[in-house]
Subunit: 400 residues, 2 copies
């Protein structure tokens, strides 16, 4: 039986394989297979963009079964805006994998990330995909995380051990995505695998809730790329009683899952294209959580705020302006803004501590912006990063 090259910290029964298909250019692994030795319960969350990539449309159909056994992922080509041929290509890829794994095609999920609008180079993908199953066990999760990268500068992996009664299960997550400066267009792919047995419906609710509190707090609600996908596979090889919301161990499982998605989300922001600083924006004292979130996102998405932080300029006026056009009701003369522990704005106007605050920006890579609207009790946190010249360079040259 095939084995993992590196089993350390990997949930039981998962095997990996990576290969080079020279999808965008040669010289790197750009295709990966995640496989569970047994059929797993499966759930997912997908982009809300009206323009959905072919593999996303395929996976949305499949996921309704709540079952899966393999995920085939490629980087370099998003297979989006590729018309009928794109759907055929995604379907063929799933079929090839299924045939070689000797499993049902309905159990194979396909994910793509990369350039939009270019047909998949199937002549190069076909032979590689056909060979992937034979190499299962010769690779590991780290290599899968590296193979799915696009503009990412480092692979993103988070693992947690979870005690389920007298057994210890594992949840492992990998993720790609680095366009978070402009979150509404980044492609984020996230794959979570676990050997803990979780009920289908429970798994579905758990992953949706987890994504809402993590990846959706680093992106604008409803504004996603054509390819964003989070998939979770729970193969039950730990041998525990299938978890339901009412199970004693469910909270432990859910807490670990939330930590994984939140840590992966933070890694995505840290790797933001051209980013030099991680920025946490917390809005307190809002009338509702929705208002707090809206205000925090307006600040997080302001190019002027992001460039000011990049330039170590405690330009809180830009934060006030962003709050002003965020669309929420608030009173300018009640708002207080803090950069780190330095209060720069009180009752809507400056406290004269801009120089001190600029030093804080200069001396820290992780910046905290705390905004108290003093108009209620709700709060929300959003993560983003600064905006540098490098962001422009990365995105101006992406296809060349």
């Amino acid at each position: 039986m095939m084995k993992n090259k590196s089993n350390a910290g990997i949930p039981k029964g998962f095997l990996f394989s990576v290969a080079e298909a020279a999808i965008k250019k040669p010289g790197r692994k750009d295709i990966a297979l995640i496989y569970s030795a047994v059929e797993a319960n499966m759930a997912g969350a997908f982009t809300s963009n009206r323009v959905k990539a072919a593999p996303v449309r395929l996976d949305i159909e499949k996921i309704s079964s709540g079952k899966g056994q393999a995920i085939i992922i490629n980087s370099g080509n998003a297979n989006a805006c590729t018309g009928k041929k794109g759907m055929e290509d995604a379907g063929e890829t799933a079929l090839l994998v299924a045939r070689n794994l000797e499993i049902k095609p309905s159990l194979v999920y396909v994910c793509s990330t990369g350039v939009i609008g270019t047909p998949m180079p199937m002549e190069r993908i076909r032979p590689v995909v056909a060979n992937l199953p034979a190499n299962l066990g010769k690779s590991n999760l780290d290599k899968v995380a590296a193979a799915i990268m696009t503009t990412d500068t480092f692979p993103k992996i988070v693992k947690k051990k979870v005690k389920i009664k007298n057994k210890t299960g594992i949840i492992a997550g990998i993720c790609k995505g680095a366009g978070m400066i402009c979150p509404n267009m980044a492609t984020m792919l996230c794959f979570i695998i676990t050997d803990i047995a979780v009920n289908k419906a429970t798994l579905n609710r758990a992953i949706r809730d987890s994504v809402k509190k993590s990846f959706n707090r680093i992106t604008i609600d409803g504004d996603m790329s054509t390819n964003d996908t989070t998939l979770i596979m729970a193969n039950g090889m730990l041998g525990n009683h299938e978890l339901k919301e009412s199970s004693a161990s469910y909270k432990t499982f859910k807490k670990a899952l939330d930590e994984i998605t939140c840590e992966l989300a933070m890694l995505v922001v840290k790797d933001g294209e051209g980013a030099t600083k991680l920025i946490e924006i917390e809005v307190k004292g809002a009338a509702s959580e929705k208002a707090a979130e809206k205000a925090a996102f307006a600040v997080a998405n302001s190019s002027l705020v992001k460039t000011a932080i990049y330039g170590n300029d405690a330009n809180w006026g830009r934060i006030m302006a962003a709050l002003g056009y965020s669309g929420i009701d608030f009173f300018e003369n009640k708002a207080a803004i803090q950069l780190g522990s330095i209060r720069v704005t009180e009752r809507g106007t400056g406290t004269g501590k801009d120089i001190e605050a600029s030093k804080y920006l200069k001396n820290n890579k992780e910046i905290k912006i705390l905004i108290n609207l003093n108009s209620g009790k709700a709060s929300a946190k959003v993560l983003t990063c600064d905006l540098s010249e490098e962001y422009v360079r990365v995105n101006a040259d992406y296809r060349t």
Copy 2:
């Protein structure tokens, strides 16, 4: 009687004065006065940002009279988020001007642009403002246009002659604003003066409609800076019968006014911070004008589209992605995209003309993106510019 230094093409009865108050830093004219020899009919449009600068709040109160005679403008400090003192400073500035011009304070409007959150340096502004009226006629409109600039790289002036029966009136407009890459936070100030007599209510409706079709087509509806202001003064010194919507010459007047605001809006985009290309986005075949506008703005505000155009990359996939998250209903497989005259997308997928289209981007400074949704008869045009490293540099260093 005081005269204009350069009367060429300037509406009768308007005089100008500029001075240096070293508001942000010394070495440039940063304060300007526009004065009409007689009381004028006046109308305006102001930012919809909830956080409004002190002078904006002052002007909104005054404009309800429909009358005015002078506008005092400073650059370098926005007098926004400056609390009670900001209101006092704006009020004192108007009073000083009124006293020295020997006119009613209610006829003096105040406009500011520059850094948010810094108190006005009144000790330097007071003596300069007091002297401005004495120097009226020693300057001209060009110098006013230069004095109100912030990150603008050139002054923006447009003039038109308008035949009203047997007389020839003039409309002249000046404008500042250069942050249009990130339109929702740029401060745009626009001043239009004319010697044509226009009825108060008519003037008010005319300027609002004109702004809607020009400056609001280069910015997101409802997302404006703390200071955005357009003011129009019609002093009637041409001696024509006061124009109303029903007047024979009203259409001629309105057409010229629309041309002025549209040309000024285009100059603002051309001067976009760090911009190397002007981009016109036209969405056709939409179900409604609102949908067309929404789609065009989503594309216009996409950092990924803007960086691609900057890098001469015909990455139409990013345009499709932006349409997908714009929030409008449309069918991906009906959409056609043209760059210049080159059709890059048909029925939602590529035509294989990306290299040709990239050449078009490389060889042109004015780029046209035409999107046909093929789902209706409505259309809308929006102007924007590309996103370069220079934008980041300008905004990271703005206060230093």
